[in-house]
Symmetry: C2
């Protein structure tokens, strides 16, 4: 988590908005046009109060006792999150995890498209995985600039994570989804979101033990 004075909305609110959006799209596929907050938050274990509070940061929508227009709220959330148009991302590191991420179908659902992947292994460079060409890291600046990319997924080994992350920032990347289990030390110009399986599992251990009580 990077905090700057400019970021005042809690990170958890933004994560929940993304979950609401996922839920709304599902309701839309079921041809629902007006829904209640509890239909949106069903299975998310978020209270209706929390839902309304999260939305209130961005001006309110929906009428009390009437509900929310599904298409309107989807559009609203997509604009807030910045996913109303395609977002291009690059992947750094095409090892086992990187390869799995290239094949992950969930990205396209949210308008994210991986436009290039990078690795330093000469055996991989020039080959294609899931239709995406693996490039040498030395070509990163050119690719980032050509595609106007601002987001990157970092899936390199822990030892090289810091140096590759610095390279990403140098090339103009402003948001990094970091899968390497290290705390990156970067400038305030980039936002880092850590995805750490070990940390997640520790949180899970804690909460699953409480469930047993």
């Amino acid at each position: 988590m990077r905090k700057t004075d400019k970021i005042r909305i809690p990170q958890e609110t933004i994560r929940r908005l993304a979950l609401y959006l996922r839920s709304l799209r599902k309701l839309s596929q079921q041809n629902l046009t007006i829904v209640s907050s509890s239909q949106i938050t069903n299975h998310l274990n978020v209270t209706s109060d929390q839902f309304r509070k999260d939305l209130s940061y961005f001006g309110s929508l929906g009428k009390p006792g009437v509900g929310y227009r599904v298409d309107e709220l989807i559009e609203h959330l997509e604009k807030i999150l910045g996913v109303d148009s395609e977002r291009r991302i690059i992947l750094a590191g095409v090892g086992k995890l990187g390869s799995a991420l290239l094949a992950y179908p969930g990205f396209l659902n949210f308008n994210f498209r991986i436009v290039a992947a990078f690795d330093n292994d000469p055996v991989k460079i020039g080959k294609k995985r899931e239709g995406i060409r693996i490039e040498d890291i030395s070509r990163m600046r050119e690719v980032v600039s050509r595609f106007g990319v601002r987001l990157a997924i970092l899936a390199v080994p822990a030892e090289s994570a810091q140096s590759v992350a610095e390279k990403l920032v140098e090339c103009g990347i402003r948001g990094i989804l970091n899968f390497a289990p290290v705390n990156l030390d970067l400038s305030q110009k980039v936002y880092v979101l850590d995805v750490d399986m070990g940390t997640e599992l520790m949180a899970l251990t804690y909460f699953s033990r409480r469930v047993l009580l």
Copy 2:
């Protein structure tokens, strides 16, 4: 996020405790014995106030102006999180993501050991990946009981996530780290922690745009 009356500690506090633990282990490797809160939270973008508040849920350690004993705080956090002894986990779904997770070195660092993996593909069943035998899902109950497993990683396709999750709960699993991009509808006896790349990327998009302002 599942909430029950018994869970009063914010999920974010628990996640941060896991990050503090990771940070402390690193400091311990550097042979430091007494550290300040800012040394622990360095690179985590957590304020010292937040750090103290997080710890205060579990009784305080450390002396003002003196700092924290690294080994003592590590032990304290490990106990809180329940990672002071080995935790066995199973993996459901050995596709691309599941295979990458089997190879993920970060689990062992935190005392997590994947003891078995399950798939429904006859071609995979009976084979070994990363030294772990892939079993038929029908053998799940037996394996869970034999190894005393309470935690599972769910990495099956979205379509089968709900039914496999139900099977996990039936077999005695009490915590699920869910990588399938669906909202699981399960009993209150199990704690589900969702890891959704699409959601993470949307949060990242939002925050990285703020950084640009």
